[in-house]
C-alpha cells in the first residue's frame, strides 16, 4: 500500500473581521500545524466539533485554499507547487469533493445531465479523450442507484438523498482516486444516511477509492472508516489507527465526544453497553 495523500504541518489563518484597531492586522488561527496521511484504498475519518476547522482543512486538501505554511503531496507531487498545465490538470483529478450542503453544491439552473457533464468536460480537457457524455451520465447515475430518467431533472426536483447521490456521481465522474466527503451525509435523515453510506462502501470496493470522511458524527465514522483523527481548535488531538479500539482513546476532548454520543444512547432507553455496541461494531 502506498501513501496517496500526505499533509505536513499545515497552517491557515484568516483575518479577523472585528479588528480592535483601525487597519488592524489581527489574524485568527484556524489550522495550527495539521499533519495527516492517507493510504491507498483507505478511509480516514476526520472528526471535530463545529468550527474546529474541518471544512477549512478540506478546502486546503482540495486545492482551493493555499495554506500559509506546510505542504501537501498527492501521489508524490506537491499540490501547491509549480506545475505545467498538464500536470496541474492531472493533479486536480486525483481528488474530488462532496459537500455537506447539497442545496448549494449544484447550480440550480443546471439539469442533472449538465451537472455531471461539467465533470466529464473537465476530464475531457485533462486527458484529451472524447467521452460519450450521454452514455457516461447514464452509467454514473446507475452506479449511484438512480434511474437514467433523472438526467433531465433540475436539482429542485430531487429529494435531498437523490441530490446527494447526484453529487457523488459528479464527484465520481472525474475518475478520482480520493473522494473528500465534507459532512456529505450529515444533512440527510437517518435511513437515507445509511443508504448513502452503504453506497459509499460499495463504490469504494468497486472502484478501489480512498475516502477522506469529514464529520462531527462518530457513528457514521465507525460505520465507514478505518482510521480516525480527532480535531479540536485547528489541531489534531488524537489519532486512532484501529477503529475497533476506538474506546481506548485517551485525550480528554476525544473522550468527551465519545461520551456525548453514548450519553445520547442512554437517553433513548437502551443500555450504555448496547448503545456502544451498536455504534462501534457496525
Amino acid at each position: 500500500m502506498s501513501t496517496l495523500l500526505e499533509a505536513h504541518n499545515i497552517r491557515v489563518s484568516f483575518k479577523k473581521e472585528n479588528q480592535t484597531r483601525l487597519f488592524g492586522k489581527e489574524r485568527q488561527q484556524v489550522l495550527r500545524g495539521i499533519s495527516l496521511h492517507l493510504e491507498e484504498g483507505e478511509c480516514l475519518g476526520i472528526i471535530g466539533e463545529s468550527g474546529s476547522g474541518k471544512s477549512t482543512l478540506g478546502r486546503v486538501l482540495s486545492g482551493l485554499l493555499r495554506p500559509e505554511e506546510g505542504t501537501i503531496t498527492l501521489d508524490g507531487q506537491d499540490l501547491y507547487g509549480h506545475h505545467t498545465r498538464a500536470e496541474a490538470r492531472a493533479l486536480r483529478h486525483m481528488l474530488s469533493v462532496v459537500f455537506q450542503d447539497y442545496t448549494s453544491s449544484t447550480n440550480p439552473r443546471f439539469r442533472v445531465s449538465s451537472i455531471i457533464g461539467e465533470s466529464l468536460r473537465a476530464l475531457e480537457h485533462a486527458t484529451g479523450e472524447r467521452i460519450d457524455r450521454k452514455r457516461r451520465v447514464a452509467e454514473l447515475l446507475e452506479q449511484v442507484g438512480l434511474p437514467e430518467s433523472f438526467a433531465i431533472r433540475y436539482p429542485h426536483e430531487l429529494s435531498g438523498g437523490q441530490l446527494q447521490r447526484v453529487c457523488i456521481a459528479r464527484a465520481l465522474a472525474i475518475r478520482p482516486r480520493i473522494i473528500l466527503l465534507d459532512e456529505a451525509i450529515s444533512s440527510l435523515d437517518a435511513s437515507t444516511q445509511v443508504q448513502v453510506m452503504d453506497l459509499l462502501a460499495a463504490l469504494r470496493r468497486e472502484l478501489s477509492l480512498s475516502y477522506l470522511f469529514i464529520t462531527h458524527d462518530l457513528t457514521s465514522i465507525t460505520y465507514l472508516c478505518d482510521r480516525v483523527v480527532f480535531m479540536n481548535q485547528g489541531e489534531i488531538v488524537e489519532q486512532v489507527d484501529d477503529i475497533t479500539k476506538i474506546a481506548s482513546i485517551t485525550s480528554p476532548y476525544a473522550r468527551q465526544l465519545l461520551e456525548a454520543v453514548m450519553g445520547i444512547g442512554c437517553e433513548h432507553g437502551s443500555g450504555q453497553e448496547q448503545a456502544s455496541d451498536e455504534a462501534w461494531v457496525a
Binding site: R121, A126, Y154, H156
Partner: protein
C-alpha cells in the same frame, strides 16, 4: 424559463408595448403619414383629422409622424446607453467580485469616487464640457452609471463565488472562463435583467429630460422630450400638446419597469413551481 415569462400576461403586455414601439420606430418612414419636418403653418394646433391623426403642433407639423420618428432617438439611444453601462458594469463587477484582492480594491475605489457625484450634475457637467450633443449625453450616462452596476454585480458575484457549486468547479479544474460564463453569468442574469429593464426606463427618462432642457436632441429633430419642451411653451393656450409625448414616455418607461419585475420572477427557477 422563457415559457414562464410568456405565460405571464403582464410580461406579454410590456414586451408587446416595447416591441411594437421598436417596430414603429424602425419603420417610421413607411408608417408615418406625413413628413415630420413639413410645416403647415395655416394648420397649426389642428385637432385630430384623417390627414393629421393626432393633430399638429405650433408649426403645423404632424404630431403623429413626429412621435413615430421620435422613437428612434428615445428608445434606441436608451438601449445603447443600457448596453454600454451593462457591458462595462458586468465586466468590472465580475472581475472585482471573482478575483478579489488588489483588482477588487482598485475597481471599487474608482467606483466609490464615481458614486460620490450626483449623477444628473455629472451629466450636465460632461455635456457642458464636451458640448451640447446627444452623443455626449449617452457617453455621460454610461460614464456615470457603470459604477452603480459594477457595485451591484460585484455583490452578486461574491455571493455566488462562495457557493459550493463554484468551489466544486474550481476543485475539478474548470477554467475561470467556463466558471464565469456558465455559472456566474446565468446566476446573475436575474439581477442583471431586472437592472437592465429598470435602467432602460431610467435612460429613456434621462434622454427625454435632457432634450426637454435643450441639452440632448436638438430641434428640429423629433424627440419626445424635445416635443414636450416645445409643447411647454404653449401649455396654457394648448395643453393637449403635452398629452401625447407625455403619455408615451410614461407608458414606455412603465413597460420597461414592469418587464423588469416579470423577468425577475421568471428567472428565479425556484419560483417556477410555487
Amino acid at each position: 424559463m422563457l415559457q414562464q415569462l410568456f405565460r405571464s400576461p403582464m410580461a406579454l403586455l410590456c414586451m408587446g408595448i416595447i416591441f411594437i414601439t421598436a417596430l414603429l420606430g424602425i419603420f417610421a418612414p413607411w408608417v408615418a403619414p406625413n413628413d415630420p419636418y413639413a410645416n403647415d403653418i395655416l394648420n397649426k394646433f389642428a385637432g385630430p383629422s384623417w390627414q393629421y391623426p393626432l393633430g399638429t403642433d405650433q408649426l403645423g407639423r404632424c404630431v403623429f409622424s413626429r412621435m413615430l420618428f421620435g422613437i428612434r432617438p428615445t428608445l434606441f439611444l436608451s438601449l445603447l446607453t443600457m448596453l454600454g453601462t451593462i457591458g462595462i458594469g458586468v465586466v468590472m463587477g465580475i472581475t472585482a467580485g471573482y478575483f478579489r484582492g488588489t483588482v477588487d480594491e482598485i475597481i471599487m475605489r474608482v467606483v466609490d469616487v464615481m458614486l460620490s457625484f450626483p449623477s444628473q450634475i455629472i451629466i450636465l457637467a460632461v455635456v457642458a464640457l464636451l458640448g451640447v450633443d446627444i452623443r455626449n449625453v449617452v457617453l455621460a450616462s454610461i460614464f456615470i452609471k457603470w459604477a452603480w452596476y459594477a457595485r451591484m454585480i460585484r455583490t452578486a458575484t461574491i455571493k455566488y463565488t462562495s457557493m459550493n457549486f463554484v468551489l466544486f468547479s474550481r476543485s475539478i479544474g474548470s477554467g475561470n472562463f467556463f466558471i464565469l460564463t456558465r455559472h456566474m453569468l446565468p446566476c446573475i442574469a436575474a439581477e442583471l435583467a431586472v437592472l437592465a429593464s429598470l435602467d432602460t426606463g431610467w435612460a429613456i427618462l434621462n434622454i427625454s429630460t435632457l432634450s426637454f432642457l435643450g441639452l440632448g436632441v436638438q430641434a428640429p429633430t423629433p424627440e419626445w422630450g424635445a416635443m414636450l419642451n416645445e409643447a411647454k411653451n404653449v401649455m396654457v393656450s394648448n395643453p393637449e400638446q403635452m398629452i401625447v409625448p407625455g403619455l408615451a414616455v410614461v407608458v414606455l418607461v412603465g413597460a420597461c419597469n414592469m418587464l423588469g419585475d416579470c423577468l425577475r420572477d421568471a428567472l428565479d427557477p425556484k419560483a417556477v413551481r410555487q
